[in-house]
Each structure stands twice: as C-alpha cells, then as structure tokens.
C-alpha cells in the first residue's frame, strides 16, 4: 500500500463525512427555524412541547441519539429498522436543528420591538417585517455562534462511525487493524483543512455584513 492509495481511501471516507455534513445542514438549518418559531409560539402547549423536545435533544449525547434511532425500531417494535446512513442523517438533522433553533431564537429575540413596530406602522405585513426588516439583522447577530456550531458539526460527523458508517475516522481505524497507525493522525489534515475553509467563509460573510451596525 502506497502513501497515495491510503490517502485516496481516506479521501473516500472524507467524502462520506462531507455528505453527512451538508445533508445535515440542508435539513437542520430550515428545521431549526421552524423549531425556533415553535419555541416562541403564542400558544403555550406548543411552546411546552417544543421546549421539552429541545431539552431532551440537547440534554443527551448525540451518540446515544444515533444509536437509539438505529437500533430502537428493530429491538423495541420488531420492525425492520432503517439503514445506518439515513439513521445518522435523522439523528444529526434533529440534533443540530435543536441547537440551531436556540441560536435563531436568541437572535430573533435580540431584535428590538421597535423594529417590528416601525414596520407595523408603515403598513407592512408580518412576513414583510420578518423577511425585509428583521432577518438580515438576525443573520448578522447569529453568524458567530452559528459558525461555532457548524464547525462542531464537521467534527461530530465522526460519531457516525458508531453504527459503521464508513466515514473518515472509520476508514482510518481500519488501517490500525492492519498495523498502520499514521492514517489515524492524517485524518486531522482533512478536518483542519475543512475547518480552515469554513473559517475563511464565515470570516468573509461577517465582513460582508459589516456595512451596517445593529
């Protein structure tokens, strides 16, 4: 086995990690917004239910959630469970949506009432006020905590290994069984590169929104 053939195999694992990362974002970013609206709903029962869900999801390890979603259907109800990759996506999607929802909520609640009222007295609809007035200010506010959370997601993808999704760390581990240890260290290169790119992207975004102050 040459150096490059091992790197190529790691690269394939890394692609799976990236898949988990991007699909999770696609699900969790909008789902988180829906959950944050739920946690601010005027109707108390809705708020209570959503807050309980968020509490449970944030209060238990993501690894446990992955395992439950993967094993529970088969063991508890004796039905055929889902495959490991979809199970990981469901667990990650819900988990990150809950974390994002709290960031969104904090951002939305930090916008002063005056902004909504200014929109209202100018005859704007609720939707117009949210999308034309509030949203960009919220985005600017939540960009730093979101970038933190999203960087954590990059590294959390390695948890998928627990139900044998062949992601980067899983691939590296197979080499250790054959007595080669360095690929395990080499995974750090992939993670660091990815985080490096994200740092640059978020830095640019923050700079782009620097033209105004909230």
């Amino acid at each position: 086995m040459t150096f490059w053939s091992i790197v190529a195999e790691l690269g394939e694992g890394f692609l799976v990690s990236c898949e988990i990362f991007f699909i999770t974002l696609i699900i969790a970013l909008p789902l988180g917004l829906a959950i944050s609206f739920g946690s601010m709903a005027r109707w108390k029962p809705v708020r209570a239910v959503i807050k309980t869900i968020v509490w449970i999801v944030r209060g238990t390890p993501l690894m446990l959630q992955i395992m439950i979603i993967y094993y529970a259907p088969g063991l508890l109800f004796n039905v055929r469970g889902i495959n490991n990759f979809p199970a990981v996506i469901i667990a990650f999607g819900i988990n990150y949506a809950c974390y994002f929802s709290e960031i969104y909520r904090g951002g939305i609640e930090s916008i002063s009432k005056g902004q909504y009222e200014a929109g209202q007295v100018l005859g704007m609809t609720k939707g117009q006020i949210f999308f034309r007035v509030v949203l960009l200010q919220v985005i600017k506010r939540i960009l730093p905590p979101m970038s933190n959370e999203i960087m954590t997601l990059v590294k959390d993808t390695s948890l998928a290994r627990i139900i044998s999704v062949i992601e980067l760390l899983f691939v590296a581990e197979t080499f250790t069984l054959r007595g080669i240890i360095w690929p395990l260290f080499f995974t750090a290169v992939f993670y660091l590169a990815f985080i490096g790119i994200l740092t640059i992207v978020f830095g640019r975004l923050e700079k782009k929104l620097n033209y105004f102050k909230v």
Partner: protein, 302 residues
C-alpha cells in the same frame, strides 16, 4: 366671533376620538380620553411620565387596541371597540396607513441606506398594487376569446411595464423631495449608524411622511437627543405645519408646544386634565394639576 372662527368650530372634526380606554391587566392607563382635531391642526400632548401619552399614540396607530371607545376620521368610523367581528390583519394595516408614527428611539432599519429606509414601505405597497393589477389583467385574458389572448397578452405586458417604471419613478421622486424637506439630501446613501441622532430622527420623519398619512404622530421626538440636536428636529416638525398636514406631538418641550401647537392637551393619570389653546393652557391653566406640572417643568429648565 368672526365668520372664520364660526366656520371652523362648526366644521365636522377631521379626527374624533371618543372615550378611549385601555388597561394593561389591573392597571387602567387610559380612563376615557376624548378629543377632536381639525385638518391642518397641530395638537400638542403634554403630561407627566406614566400618564398614558405613549399608550394613546399607540392606540391611534393600532399598535394597541383600546378596550373601549370609537375613532372617526374624516367622517368614517375607523374603530369601534363594540365591533364584535375580529378585523383581519389586512384591514388593520389599511387603517394604520391613515396614521404615521415617529418614535422616540427613531427605529430606523439599520441595514438600509437612508433613501431605502424611506422607500421600503412605498415599494412594498406598490408591489402589492402591481400584483393586483397583473392578476386583474390575467383574469381579463382568461375570459377573452382564445384568438385574442396572445394579442392581449402583449398589450398587457406593455402596460404593466409602464406601470412598474412609473411607480419606480414616482417613489424615487417622492423620496428625494422628502429628503430635501428634512434637509438631508446629501445623506441619501448613508447608513443610519453614520448619522447623528438628530439626523436619524429627521430620516424617521421622512420615512413616516412617505406614505402620506392623514395624521402624523410624534412620541417625544427629541427626548432621546442631546440638547444641541433637538433644535434641528423641532425645526423640521415646525416646517411640516401646513394646511393639509395634521399632527399630534407628544412633547416635553414646552416652548415648542407653545409656539407650534394650535391646541394643547394635558394628560394626567389617563385623563385629559386640561385642554385649550396654548395660551389658555400655559398662561391661564385652570386645573391645579396642570399648574403644578407647568411649575415643575419650568423649574427643570433653570
């Protein structure tokens, strides 16, 4: 009495507020406020802190809904607390457009330039209007005979393009003239954070004027400003005074109320304690509460 004053007193009021009451929980903030206002008049509302002045303005702008009372504007009944049916959001928005509100804290939209702040609401309304016209055209085409439809479509498209560019031009023109009116033409591309408080408040005034409200309300427009900046804002408000602009100004600036208002209301504990011309209220106040309030506000000056 001259002919003119007789005509004035007998003209039906432009705005009539009847017995407005509002409570927050156990706290009754407005305890039955009634007043009238003629078109082109400036009404100054004074009163000590917590008296309910802001609440009254918020009720006029339908940011709060009074528990009791009625409101007539230009003879039309705009609000009645006895109406059982719940009014739709769209209807409330329509009613709001009769009033404008300038906030103590300006509340400009920070991500938009000065001119975009002024244009935004107009643009959104124009878009709604445009969408309605477009839908009407589409409906007309559907009921037209088939062979005519393509020709109609081309015609409609042309008209719609013209409407859109007409709207855009009108909005831009109006925005520029408003900026000129508040003396900020050269700041049109600045962002709110780049402006002084006084300039921000003048933009907020232009933004409120952009929708041509029947009545423009100000809630202590200068009390968030450094003393040296209040003058420029008051000057702009004074400059707005004309035959067809009706204004309600809640203010702590007694000199301003004296010089600019046609009518003054003193509110204490949710009730109108005294009202009349500036001269009547400031020079010959009847109520003890008014006298005490005026004495106190004079002391603060020195």
């Amino acid at each position: 009495m001259t002919m003119e004053t007789i005509a004035k007193t007998e003209a039906p009021p432009f705005l009539e507020v009847k017995n407005y009451r509002k409570r927050f929980g156990e706290n009754e903030v407005l305890k039955g406020i009634s007043f009238t206002l003629q078109k082109g008049e400036v009404l100054a509302i004074i009163g000590s802190s917590g008296g309910g002045k802001t609440t009254l303005l918020r009720c006029l702008n339908f940011l709060e809904i009074p528990d009791e009372g009625e409101l007539y504007l230009g003879g039309e009944r705009l609000f009645g607390a006895d109406e059982k049916v719940k009014v739709s959001d769209a209807r409330v928005r329509e009613k709001r457009l009769h009033f404008g509100l300038v906030f103590q804290q300006f509340n400009l939209f920070p991500q938009y330039t000065v001119s975009k702040n002024i244009m935004l609401a107009q643009t959104l309304l124009a878009k709604q209007d445009f969408a309605q016209k477009k839908a009407a055209f589409a409906a007309a085409r559907r009921s037209a005979p088939k062979e005519k439809r393509t020709q109609l479509k081309a015609e409609h498209k042309k008209i719609l393009t013209e409407i859109r560019s007409g709207q855009k031009e009108a909005i831009e023109k109006k925005t520029l003239s408003l900026l000129e009116r508040v003396g900020l033409s050269e700041k049109k591309d600045a962002y709110p954070y780049e402006l002084s408080g006084g300039q921000q408040q003048r933009v907020a005034i232009a933004r409120a004027l952009a929708l041509s409200p029947d009545i423009l309300c100000f809630d202590e427009p200068t009390s968030a400003l450094d003393p040296e900046l209040t003058g420029e804002v008051l000057k702009v408000i004074k400059g707005l005074k004309s035959a067809d602009s009706t204004m309600i100004v809640v203010t702590h600036e007694m000199e301003f109320a004296k010089n600019v208002a046609d009518h003054v209301i003193f509110i204490a504990d949710g009730l109108i304690e005294e009202e009349g011309t500036p001269e009547e209220v400031f020079e010959h106040p009847k109520s003890e509460k008014t006298q005490a309030f005026l004495r106190k506000s004079l002391e603060e000056l020195f």
